[in-house]
């Protein structure tokens, strides 16, 4: 894999991805 063909996700931290789960966003309690 050449550097300019890097996947956009490779710079993402695993926990950044995990934190995107709707279940981990409790502000859902306060919204309709």
């Amino acid at each position: 894999r050449s550097p300019d063909a890097q996947h956009p996700y490779t710079h993402i931290n695993a926990f950044q991805l995990i934190g995107m789960s709707s279940c981990l966003d409790l502000s859902g309690f306060f919204e309709k």
Binding site: T10, A14, C23
Partner: protein, 212 residues
């Protein structure tokens, strides 16, 4: 306190006044705020079965807009809220957990809660396999397909950053250092709504009236 309130309707609170002031003593919430949170709790706990407790399906309905399906993260959130491990979330458990999400709650409590959330098997470590399992779960939840080598690369880099002693698992101390370096990872651990929950749930006003 809530005991000075009088309601024109028959009193049907499922939570006694004494318990409210006890909860206020052990959390950041005032009795008024707890009453507002009780409105939220009633809404959540009656969405499927109106029995005064939040069932897993009700938590799922609130967070995912559907009561069906399996979700790893939902299971973890539910387990952490369900302190008594009796399969439902009661009001005091709901308040204890939300207390951690208060904007003024100590950062250490937030760090600890997030650690327990991600320590799927409760071994005291966030293991590589667990991180992989969670990444796969979020990719499924968001319908994103990622080639295996990219997935491995993400996990590799994350562990290179977080696993200071290179033993293949993240202990609590490493976790703390890691999230303090990447504070955005704790973003979900703070709910700004909790700072003025009485305005978010103004229905409180209709339920309680101060005596003349």
């Amino acid at each position: 306190g809530c005991c000075s309130h009088r309601s024109r309707r028959p009193i049907n609170r499922g939570f006694a006044c004494g318990n409210m002031s006890h909860l206020a003593d052990e959390t950041r919430f005032t009795v008024n705020e707890l009453e507002a949170l009780y409105e939220l709790f009633k809404k959540l706990s009656s969405s499927i079965i109106d029995d005064g407790s939040i069932h897993k399906e009700e938590l799922q309905l609130a967070l995912l807009q559907t009561p069906q399906g399996e979700n790893l993260f939902l299971d973890r959130v539910f387990d952490l809220f369900d302190e008594k491990k009796n399969g439902v979330i009661e009001f005091d458990e709901f308040v204890h957990a939300l207390n951690v999400f208060h904007p003024y709650a100590p950062i250490d409590d937030k760090i600890d809660f997030a650690f327990r959330l991600y320590d799927l098997r409760q071994t005291g470590f966030i293991e590589r396999e667990e991180v992989k399992q969670m990444v796969i779960a979020i990719l499924m939840e968001s319908d994103v397909k990622l080639p295996d080598d990219i997935l491995e690369e993400i996990i590799e880099k994350t562990f290179a950053d977080a696993d200071a002693d290179k033993d293949g698992k993240i202990n609590k101390e490493e976790w703390k250092v890691f999230v303090l370096r990447h504070p955005s990872l704790l973003k979900n651990m703070t709910l700004p709504y909790l700072k003025d929950v009485t305005t978010v749930f103004p229905s409180y006003i209709f339920h309680t009236e101060v005596e003349d």
